[in-house]
C-alpha cells in the first residue's frame, strides 16, 4: 500500500532525475559533437575526464565560481545578520520594510539579470551615467573585468540577502530570552553575547542557510547570462555558464557531460563537508 502511494512520485523522479543523470554519465565516455565530420558518438573511455584535469578554462571557471561564492555568500551573511538583528527590534514601519526588502526574492533570476543590465549598461544605464557625472568614474561592465565582477556580486547580494535575513530572523526570534538576559546580568558585553550565546544557538539555522546559498551560488547561470553573458572575456563565466557554452553553442556534448559530472562531484563534496559540520554540531548540542 505504502509503495503504491509513493510510486507516482518515484516514477516521476526516475524520469526527470535518474534517467537524465545516467544518460549524462553515459555520454561523458564519448566524444560527441553533432557538427563533427565523424558522425555519431565515438567512445573515448575516461579521456574526457583526463582532459578536464588539464583544462585551464574549466579550472579557471571553477576557481572564479568559488571566488564569486565567497564574496557573494559572505557578504549576504554579514548583511543578512545585521538586517535580521534590526528586524528583531520594534520600530516604526517595520512590517512595511520587511515586505519591501523581501521583494527581490519573488523576482525571476532572468528578470533580475535584465533589470541590472538596464541599470548598468554603459551609455544608457543610470548607474554608469551618475557615477560618471558625479564622481568622474568610467564604469563599464563590458570593458573592465573588475567592474563586471563587482556588479555580479552586488546583484547576487541584492537578490539573496533577504533570504538570509528571513532565515536568520526566524532563528533569532525563536531564541529564548533568559540566557541572553542572564549573560547581560553577569556583565557580558554585546560581542560576548553574540559569540558565546547567540551564534551557537542559531548555528543550525546558519549552517542550513549557508548550505542552501552555497549550492545556489555554485550553480548560478541565468542572472549572469543576462547581465554580462559571462564577459567581459571570461571574467564572469562561472562554471554553470561555462558548461552551458560547451554543451550548447559549441555542441561538445561528451566533454560537456564530463564537465557537468565533475562539477556535480565537486558540489557533492562541498555539500558533504557542510552536512558533516551540521551533524557534528547537532551531536555536540545533544
Amino acid at each position: 500500500m505504502g509503495w503504491g502511494l509513493i510510486a507516482p512520485t518515484l516514477i516521476v523522479l526516475a524520469i526527470i532525475g535518474l534517467i537524465p543523470f545516467f544518460y549524462v554519465i553515459y555520454i561523458g565516455f564519448f566524444d560527441w559533437n553533432i557538427f563533427s565530420a565523424k558522425a555519431g558518438m565515438v567512445f573515448v573511455g575516461v579521456n574526457n575526464y583526463r582532459r578536464l584535469v588539464f583544462d585551464e578554462d574549466f579550472l579557471r571557471a571553477l576557481w572564479r565560481t568559488l571566488q564569486f561564492m565567497f564574496w557573494a555568500v559572505g557578504s549576504e551573511f554579514v548583511l543578512g545578520y545585521l538586517l535580521a538583528q534590526t528586524l528583531v527590534r520594534d520600530f516604526r514601519g517595520k512590517a512595511f520594510f520587511r515586505t519591501v526588502h523581501a521583494l527581490p526574492l519573488m523576482i525571476a533570476p532572468i528578470a533580475i539579470g535584465a533589470t541590472w543590465r538596464l541599470l548598468t549598461i554603459p551609455g544608457f544605464g543610470p548607474i554608469p551615467y551618475y557615477l560618471s557625472k558625479w564622481f568622474g568614474i568610467d564604469y563599464n561592465i563590458g570593458r573592465f573585468a573588475s567592474h563586471a565582477s563587482l556588479t555580479v556580486v552586488l546583484m547576487d547580494i541584492w537578490h539573496w540577502t533577504p533570504f538570509v535575513t528571513l532565515c536568520l530572523l526566524a532563528g533569532l526570534t525563536s531564541l529564548p530570552k533568559e540566557p541572553l538576559e542572564q549573560a547581560l546580568v553577569d556583565g557580558a558585553n554585546r560581542w560576548q553575547v553574540f559569540r558565546y550565546i547567540t551564534l551557537p544557538a542559531i548555528m543550525p539555522v546558519v549552517l542550513t542557510t549557508f548550505f542552501i546559498r552555497v549550492m545556489d551560488a555554485l550553480r548560478v547561470v541565468d542572472e549572469i547570462w543576462m547581465l554580462t553573458g559571462g564577459g567581459p572575456g571570461d571574467t564572469t563565466r562561472y562554471i554553470g555558464l561555462h558548461i552551458w557554452r560547451i554543451v550548447f553553442p559549441k555542441t561538445d556534448y561528451g566533454y560537456g557531460s564530463a564537465m557537468s559530472l565533475l562539477t556535480l562531484y565537486f558540489t557533492i563534496v562541498l555539500c558533504w563537508m557542510v552536512f558533516t559540520a551540521i551533524m557534528s554540531r547537532g551531536q555536540e548540542t545533544s
Partner: protein
C-alpha cells in the same frame, strides 16, 4: 442570512461569467484609429477569399484545426511573419501557427536540441544563412523541392524558386540543387552614416580644415578613422552625445566575432574567417590567413575604433548597434540592413528619421575587384529562411506555411517592416521604392551591389569554431591580449579543434 448571502454571490458569479462570455461578441472592440496604426503592421488589402487555394489545400491535407509550431529570432522580419502573416494564414486555412520569437542564442539552443533529438517539437525553424550548412550536413531538414514533387497537391502555383533573389541559392542542397528551406529575409550589412551631419555646411568646413579633404562617406579605412576621430571630438566640443563610429564589440556574446570575421576582415581582404578550405588550416605557416598581417591590420583597425565609439559598444550586439545609431549617438558605422527601415522612418523609436544615408563599406585596395571577380566579398549578406525539421509531425501543413509567406502580396509591407527582400519583384514595389528614398538608397544598394557581399562560408562546423575563436576577440577588445598574440593563438586553437572535429590532419 448566510444562505441568502451565498445565493446572491453565486448568482453574481454566474451572471458575470455569462456577461464575460457574451461581451466580446455583443460589444465589438473599438476600431483602432488609423493614425495610430503603424503602417508596417497593416495586413495587405488583398485579403483571402473564403475558399482560396490554401484553404482547399489545407482541407485536403487534413491540416484544418491543427497547430504548427515554429521558433525564430525576435527581429523585425520575424515579428512581422508572426503578426500579421501567420495570423492571416490561420484565418485563411484554419491552421494555427504557434510562433515563438526569442533571442538568437535561445532560438538555436532550442531548435538544435529539437532536431538532434528528433522530438518533433517544432514544425518549422528559423535558419540563418550561416548555420544552414551545418544543418544540411546533419540531414536535419526536409527537402522542400522533393516534398512538393512527392505531393503535387500541396504545390502552390505561385511558389516558384525562380522568383527569389539569388539569396535562395544559400538554401539549396549543393548535391541535388533542391531547395531545403524557403527564405523569409535577406539583407546586406552596409555602411550607414548620418547624412544630416555629413551635409551640414559648418561641419563640412570644419572637417575639411581638420582632415585636409572634403567630408564624404568613407571609402578607405583612413577616411573612416579620420571621420570617426573628427565626430568624436565634435561631440565633445559641442557637448553632444555623439561619437564617431559604432562598434559591435560585445565582450560576452559572439556578435563581436561576427562583426570582425564577416564585416571587417573581408573588407580587408581576409575571407572565410582566414581558414583555408583546401586543407582546413588557419595559420599562415599552414596556408591559412587567420593570423596574416592583413588580418592583424584589420583587427587593429577595428579594436582601435573603440576610442571613437560610444561607451555601450563593448556591450553591443547587432541590436544595440542599431539602437545606438537610432539614438543618434554615432556618426557612422556598420549596421545590419534589417534595421535600416525603422531607423530611417519610425519616429517612435528613432531620433534620426530621414537623416541617414547608406553606402558600400570602406574597403582595402583591391577588395572590390576581388568581389567583382567572385574571388572575395566586401561584407556580410545576411538572411534567414524557415525550414521543416525531419522530425516534424505536421510536415504537410508546414509546407503550406512556407509557400504562404513567400507570396508576392505580402512582400512589400514586409520589406517596409523589416527592410528585407526575398523576391526579385519586391524591389519594384512602390512602397519599397518610397522607403528606398527615405533610406537614401538602401534597397538600390542591395539590388545593384548586393552581389559584392556574401554570407558566411559554407562551414558545417560554424558554431563550434566560432566558440573557439571568440574568446580571443573578446580579450583583444578588452585590451587583455595584443592583436598579434590573439590571432596567433586563435589560429592554433582553430586548427586543433578542426583536427578534433575530423577536418584536416
Amino acid at each position: 442570512m448566510k444562505p441568502k448571502f451565498w445565493t446572491i454571490l453565486s448568482l453574481l458569479v454566474v451572471l458575470s461569467t455569462l456577461v464575460a462570455c457574451v461581451a466580446p461578441a455583443a460589444m465589438p472592440a473599438p476600431a483602432q484609429p488609423a493614425a495610430q496604426a503603424p503602417e508596417a503592421t497593416k495586413v495587405p488589402a488583398a485579403a483571402a477569399p473564403a475558399e482560396s487555394w490554401f484553404a482547399t489545400a489545407a482541407k485536403n491535407a487534413s491540416c484544418v484545426g491543427k497547430t504548427i509550431r515554429g521558433v525564430a529570432e525576435s527581429t523585425p522580419p520575424s515579428r512581422y511573419a508572426a503578426d500579421p502573416i501567420a495570423k492571416e494564414f490561420a484565418k485563411e486555412t484554419g491552421i494555427n501557427v504557434e510562433f515563438e520569437t526569442t533571442s538568437w542564442d535561445q532560438m538555436y539552443d532550442k531548435e538544435i536540441k529539437d532536431m538532434e533529438a528528433n522530438t518533433g517539437l517544432y514544425d518549422f525553424v528559423y535558419i540563418e544563412q550561416d548555420i544552414v550548412y551545418a544543418y544540411l550536413a546533419r540531414n536535419f531538414l526536409v527537402d522542400v523541392t522533393q516534398a512538393l514533387k512527392d505531393k503535387p497537391d500541396l504545390h502552390f502555383a505561385g511558389y516558384d524558386p525562380a522568383k527569389f533573389t539569388t539569396f535562395i541559392n544559400n538554401y539549396k542542397d549543393p548535391k541535388s540543387g533542391d531547395v531545403m528551406s524557403v527564405p523569409m529575409e535577406s539583407f546586406v550589412k552596409p555602411y550607414i552614416y548620418r547624412k544630416d551631419l555629413f551635409d551640414d555646411p559648418a561641419i563640412k568646413a570644419a572637417f575639411e580644415k581638420a582632415a585636409g579633404y572634403p567630408l564624404a562617406p568613407a571609402t578607405t579605412f583612413k577616411q573612416y578613422e579620420d571621420i570617426a576621430k573628427f565626430f568624436t571630438q565634435w561631440g565633445k566640443d559641442n557637448k553632444m552625445e555623439l561619437w564617431g563610429s559604432t562598434v559591435q564589440g560585445t565582450t560576452g556574446h559572439p556578435a563581436s566575432f561576427y562583426e570582425y570575421y564577416e564585416t571587417i576582415a573581408p573588407s580587408f581582404g581576409v575571407y572565410n574567417w582566414g581558414i583555408n578550405k583546401d586543407n582546413w588550416k588557419a595559420c599562415v605557416k599552414n596556408g591559412g590567413q587567420m593570423n596574416s598581417d592583413r588580418a592583424k591590420e584589420a583587427l587593429t583597425f577595428w579594436t582601435g575604433m573603440l576610442k571613437y565609439a560610444p561607451p555601450e559598444s563593448t556591450s553591443s550586439t547587432w541590436d544595440e548597434v542599431a539602437a545606438t545609431m537610432a539614438a543618434g549617438r554615432a556618426a557612422q558605422g556598420w549596421v545590419y540592413g534589417e534595421n535600416t527601415g525603422w531607423i530611417a522612418r519610425d519616429a517612435t523609436k528613432s531620433k534620426v528619421v530621414g537623416k541617414i544615408g547608406v553606402a558600400l563599406p570602406p574597403t582595402y585596395q583591391g577588395v572590390i575587384d576581388d568581389a567583382k571577380a567572385g574571388k572575395g566579398y566586401i561584407g556580410y549578406y545576411d538572411g534567414g529562411a524557415y525550414g521543416i525539421p525531419v522530425g516534424s509531425k505536421n510536415k504537410d501543413c508546414a509546407l503550406l506555411w512556407l509557400q504562404y509567406y513567400a507570396q508576392e502580396k505580402f512582400q512589400a509591407d514586409w520589406a517596409v517592416a523589416g527592410s528585407r527582400i526575398i523576391l526579385k519583384s519586391t524591389y519594384d514595389e512602390p512602397k519599397v521604392q518610397e522607403l528606398d528614398k527615405i533610406t537614401n538608397g538602401y534597397f538600390t544598394l542591395q539590388k545593384d551591389q548586393g552581389y559584392l557581399f556574401a554570407g558566411a562560408p559554407a562551414f558545417p562546423f560554424h558554431a563550434t569554431i566560432r566558440e573557439v575563436i571568440t574568446p580571443f576577440i573578446w580579450k583583444t577588445l578588452m585590451g587583455e591580449m595584443k592583436v598579434s598574440d590573439a590571432l596567433d593563438k586563435a589560429c592554433e586553437a582553430t586548427e586543433a579543434e578542426l583536427v578534433k572535429l575530423g577536418y584536416g590532419k
